[in-house]
């Protein structure tokens, strides 16, 4: 089965630093997402991205966050100035449908554990 890959698997950063989490979605997919899971809490939607723009974002996705698809294969999540509460597992996902309503499943990456010190 095709896979979504994420790098790095674990990122440690100092509070206030910028961090970029990288994802390579499945190659023919059109929709890209970031979710996060704070330890002990549920998986939360952050943002969806289609046709080089954000489709929807949650209230968590404030001005400190941005997403980009710089080269047609990578999909990145940037946190401009990390806070302690940004520590979480960040999951990238992609899906392929270009027709609504969708019947496709989300393919998740293995996650990047971000630790903000």
């Amino acid at each position: 089965e095709p896979e979504v890959t994420q790098t790095p698997s674990h990122q440690v950063t100092q509070m206030g630093q910028e961090v970029i989490l990288r994802c390579v979605p499945i190659s023919n997919h059109l929709y890209f997402y970031w979710y996060r899971q704070i330890l002990g809490q549920k998986v939360e939607f952050l943002v969806s991205f289609y046709n080089n723009e954000i489709s929807e974002k949650s209230e968590i996705f404030d001005d400190q966050f941005s997403v980009e698809r710089p080269d047609g294969s990578n999909f990145t999540l940037k946190i401009r100035s990390t806070k302690l509460e940004d520590s979480a597992m960040y999951f990238c996902a992609s899906s392929s449908t270009n027709q609504g309503p969708t019947n496709e499943k989300l393919f998740f990456g293995s996650g990047t554990q971000l630790s903000v010190l």
Binding site: Y31, E56, K105
Partner: protein, 118 residues
């Protein structure tokens, strides 16, 4: 706003015991329903899904789930668990976006940690 409730946060079973994990959602419209599993150290994987048709859906590894629309429920079941089923299980709901072009916004429950004792 849609929400998903999973009532059991931590379940401990012996091997061969039967499993039922509860999931309720709050949304009056058409939904897609999923169960995802996260094995220790691994990423989220789709276990099974319901879109339409037969409300009893079968997934991988002997799991099944039943959609009961009147109860807004989508409980996960397995007649006989194995040690390898130890994992965290997430129920999830996706609203059917009729006009938005097909992207998904999935809302997850808080998860149920299943521990199977050999």
């Amino acid at each position: 706003a849609q929400s998903v409730s999973q009532h059991n946060h931590h379940v401990i079973l012996s091997e061969a015991a039967s499993l039922e994990l509860g999931c309720n959602y709050s949304y009056g419209g058409t939904v897609n329903l999923f169960w995802y599993v996260q094995y220790p150290g691994q990423h989220l994987q789709l276990l099974l899904k319901y879109f339409s048709g037969d409300p009893l859906v079968k997934g991988i590894k002997g799991f099944e789930a039943e959609f009961i629309k009147s109860k807004f429920s989508f409980n996960l079941r397995k007649p006989s668990v194995q040690w390898s089923d130890t994992a965290e299980y997430f129920c999830a709901v996706n609203l059917k976006f009729m006009n938005s072009g097909g992207y998904q916004k999935v809302t997850f429950g808080t998860g149920t940690k299943l521990q199977v004792i050999p």
